[in-house]
Symmetry: C2
Subunit: 412 residues, 2 copies
């Protein structure tokens, strides 16, 4: 993925906004555009956040001319005094701002009632010799320009408005021959392993294939692995997949809840939850998938012990002898959920989310998961590190993954 | 916030990684550093993602020398062949890489078992004349350098390792007089209003105070407003606060669940939930706050209708006549939760998350919220736009906000 010495056109991205450079806000346009350009075979040599300052943006635009083939700018096209991209672009290409009649009409028709019409109509003034990219929504037209052979596309910062103009940009890139074959990208989402474990596992393959770029994005509850190559490296991809094995829950991008839902539908099974420390997170994850009502009956958030006994039928002796955080309680909760909710599978978690409540024998992060089905129960024990919400999230994902492993016959 | 013409030192940030420029991964170091630099009175003139390419990074470093006072680079200091920041820095300041004895010893002691020791020890070779910033964790030392008066700090890309070196950077900035008074930053988090509504409401104040930089970060479920000024603008801040009124739930950064939890503790009240379309999300939000067990008793995820009748005691006639998605059902669920869970307040939601299941009379996004306390019940009706998960999230936040408004006496 070296940005030079090949036939892949070079691109740069500028994202305009002082709130972005100063860290008061975050943006994702540069990520989306990076991916979009990658998919068209362009190499991005820089993705740069710049403040709302005409001179700074104009200098950057001029500096990219002669270096890259395509420059995409987002943001700064709105109607307020902070919006300086039109002026910066005019300065960069040394062209005065002029009224664009077509843009003027569209904007005039769309100015919100009670708004300051003049400030909105400023958006119709574009650098001479450039072309307006008409907005599908909103009032800010994009601008298509050229400087020393570099194609420039200035797009709105609002992601939806920006996206609506990418079809036009795509056409222009193809018309000017500024695209190439995209890299091969393979993705895998997995859970139940830590990032160092994954790195150690696949390390030898990466060493053997230096042309392969790998990205490991580790969230507390799951790991996304992205493998990128401009060459044909099927054998490397296959080796990595087989090294990772069953802990990969998806290689097509689906979430864990989607995978579990699909398995439940295929096997015609319903599920209900009994949640202590996650307090509903497992149910909410299951219900995030459209059509979840076909396999999710409901759940019981048993935060207090009395709810474990009264609604889930956990015997008081179990709570007294083994404790609320125990394999016995997790098993009884899972079986209780199955009965109380009238479903095929009861899925239960109990544990200590922290930061307080831990003991030497039962530390913060200790979690028991239970899965009851057909009179038999599986339980698992784990200790999760992290803050309270991290422990809760890992617990919820672990429970869903236990359900997944049970459904594919990989849980014991 | 113009980056020139004042005494605020200028800074730039470079984040190294081809997976970042190509959009295969996202980073937050540039946001964190932007904020960190802001808090020290520096103005960030550029925050730039660059690929793993020695020449590209070296050129960028040289281009910043003479332009900014401080350059912070993150990433590319690891032990793999992709890690090129040491080489790029050496090329930029025209100094060969030399072994740093102190770094060598620390790294040698920390190389993981079974790892390729030589590749790790590469990290101990730093450009001549620069200083190692010793890592608290991990094996990658940071590098402190200087080029034409510009202070350069090259830090690891792993956020925790980067953060552990910021204390050192802070000391260096102060020692070299490269800090200034930070801007005044006022934040407000609010819910129950759309972004255009907020923009319209506070627009006149922003027009009256052009020195004020405002950032509105709109998530489906809440809006974060950040007001930034290098001048004293208390009156503007006060005007904006009074315009926004009761829909602001926090001006200190707390989450809605934290605010609600604090109010419940102060009033010595407990709560339990009955959730249909959110399937546990309200319970999970409440339980995300440490100590939630002092006011959250539990909940019932009543996804299927039979659970609404069997566990929440909703009369079958209500479901039959008014329907599962109705004010009557929300009220009965709230009261049922209060009784079944033995708590002071029952909080219930029922609605249609979509994408299917809507009718002309009861469209996708229709949600009823119920709050039962002391024998009386409040219900609210709303129609939320968006995808399934957006409707669910807005519903959960609305329910928490109804609880908040009830607790401060602002719900009817």
């Amino acid at each position: 993925l070296s940005p030079t010495n090949d036939r892949h056109p070079l691109a740069a991205v500028i994202v305009v906004g002082t709130e972005l450079t100063q860290g008061f806000s975050r943006e994702s346009n540069s990520v989306q555009l990076g991916r979009w350009l990658s998919e068209r075979g362009l190499r991005v040599v820089s993705a740069q956040k710049l403040p709302d300052d005409i001179g700074t943006v104009a200098s950057a635009v001029r500096a990219y001319a002669g270096t890259v083939d395509v420059l995409i700018i987002t943001g700064g096209l709105g109607s307020t005094h902070d919006d300086i991209t039109r002026e910066a672009l005019a300065e960069a290409i040394a062209a005065p701002l002029e009224k664009d009649e077509r843009a003027y009409e569209v904007i005039a028709a769309r100015v919100p009632a009670n708004a300051d019409k003049d400030s909105f109509l400023r958006q119709a003034y574009l650098p001479r010799g450039t072309a307006a990219i008409m907005p599908e929504a909103g009032t800010a037209p994009g601008i298509a320009a050229e400087l020393n052979g570099m194609l420039i596309f200035s797009l709105p910062g609002v992601p939806r408005e920006m996206e609506s103009m990418l079809g036009f940009v795509d056409g222009e890139l193809r018309r000017h021959g500024r695209t190439n074959a995209p890299p091969r990208v393979v993705r895998a989402r997995l859970t139940g392993r830590t990032e160092p474990e994954v790195a150690r596992l696949i390390g030898p393959v990466l060493d053997a294939y230096p042309q392969l770029t790998v990205n490991i994005l580790a969230k507390p509850e799951e790991i996304s692995l992205t493998l990128i190559s401009y060459e044909d490296l099927e054998s490397a991809f296959d080796e990595i997949k087989s090294l990772l094995g069953d802990c990969v829950f998806s290689d097509k991008g689906e979430s864990l809840a989607e995978v579990v839902g699909q398995l439940l539908l295929e096997r015609e099974l319903t599920v209900g939850t009994a949640e202590s420390l996650t307090a509903g997170e497992i149910g909410a994850l299951l219900a995030s998938v459209p059509g979840a009502s076909r396999y999710l009956t409901g759940g019981i958030i048993a935060y207090e012990n009395k709810i474990k006994t009264e609604l889930l039928g956990v015997a008081p002796e179990i709570l007294e002898n083994a404790g609320a955080v125990s394999a016995e309680t997790a098993a009884a909760m899972a079986e209780g959920a199955r009965l109380a909710l009238g479903c095929d599978i009861g899925l239960a978690v109990t544990g200590i989310a922290g930061p307080s409540g831990g003991t030497k024998e039962k530390p913060v992060g200790l979690v028991y998961t239970g899965l009851a089905v057909n009179g038999s129960v599986i339980t698992e024990r784990a200790i999760y590190e992290g803050e309270r919400e991290t422990v809760q999230r890992k617990t919820a994902f672990h429970a869903l993954d236990l359900l997944r492993r049970f459904l594919i016959g990989a849980a014991e």
